[in-house]
Point group: C2
Chain length 204, copies 2
């Protein structure tokens, strides 16, 4: 399948590399095509780096791995309608401040014809695409207003290796998911490494 992965930071390149390894056809969308970063990312991943518009044009699915504060501006003018948008983004300000409107809901409101599915935003980047490397069960959440799109994203998560997948229903769950960010940061500070996650434990 063809993917446009928006963002060439740690999350974007990790997801893009995994999608390519699974046999998908990936193009990165970046706002910094001039200078060293785009060519470095291209060289390191073997994946073409293009503008956000070109990457969106390429993708049957879109992945948002942009900083939350920049996502709407960067995606404006991109060919998103009717496509699944996997939103992995978080507001950087959510680390230690309130979220007025969760990013997933803000993106869905800005681009009403996209099939947005929020997922993976509370997971360390290396675990997003290799959950087994933690050596124990742990959980990932997903939410979206389109149940068929949620099911398709769940299939992708299973291809990444996920087993504990909690479908939380519609995008009202974005607050629950995005407000996990301060806990991730606090645990990262406590442990000094990103080799952790949360598991939802239910009475058997």
């Amino acid at each position: 399948m063809k993917f446009g992965v928006m963002g060439t930071g740690q999350v974007g390149t990790t997801i893009g590399g995994k999608l390519q390894a699974l046999g998908h056809d990936v193009v990165f969308g970046s706002r910094s095509l001039e200078g060293g970063k785009a060519s470095r990312v291209g060289a390191e991943t073997g994946i073409r780096v293009a503008s956000h518009q070109e990457a969106a044009e390429h993708g049957e699915w879109i992945v948002n791995a942009l900083p939350g504060e920049h996502a709407i501006a960067s995606l404006t003018g991109c060919a998103l309608d009717g496509k699944i948008l996997v939103d992995i983004g978080n507001y950087e300000a959510a680390v230690d401040g309130p979220i007025a409107m969760p990013l997933g809901q803000a993106l869905q409101a800005a681009f009403p014809a996209v099939r947005l599915v929020k997922t993976l935003n509370s997971v360390s980047a290396h675990l997003m695409v290799d959950p087994d490397s933690l050596g124990a069960d742990h959980s990932v959440f997903l939410a979206g207003n389109d149940a068929a799109a949620r099911a398709e994203v769940e299939t992708l998560l299973r291809a990444f290796g996920w087993r504990s997948i909690l479908d939380l229903g519609d995008l009202e769950a974005c607050r629950a998911m995005e407000e996990l960010v301060p806990m991730w940061m606090r645990l990262f500070g406590k442990f000094g490494d990103p080799n952790f996650n949360l598991l939802v434990v239910r009475q058997g």
Copy 2:
């Protein structure tokens, strides 16, 4: 030890009953001494229900199990200085709205001489005092600016049966802890029962 437990809802009565079962001397603080609720709680628990001021006077330790929106007003005028205040509270508005200032930090600012320790606020009431009943490991968090107070509260949590206790450090961690409320609510809605919690999983 003597405890003043503020709040006679599900959380307060559950904590008060457990403290009594452990041999502590408990008085509940309530704003509704007239009418049926105080006598019903007193009859059901065998614990005296008094005003917030009387319960605070009684307690060497104070437990805040009041709705977050009412906590500062209810605790104003109470004898808190120098005592450990175990804050289990959450803002009801935090279920689906932003937290401008976390309750734990707001209480510490309002009562600067209290030794506030935030804990248990993300856990179903029955699991707070009987974590083993879930049948698998799960986690509780704690935070406070006074490390000695955190250690004393950790000892109490162990007496409740907790083993996975994550000390997150100072009260800046209150946002991380209080922003777990929307996830608790969403999982409660998904599962239809409160028999669940989160476990922090770390690479071994």
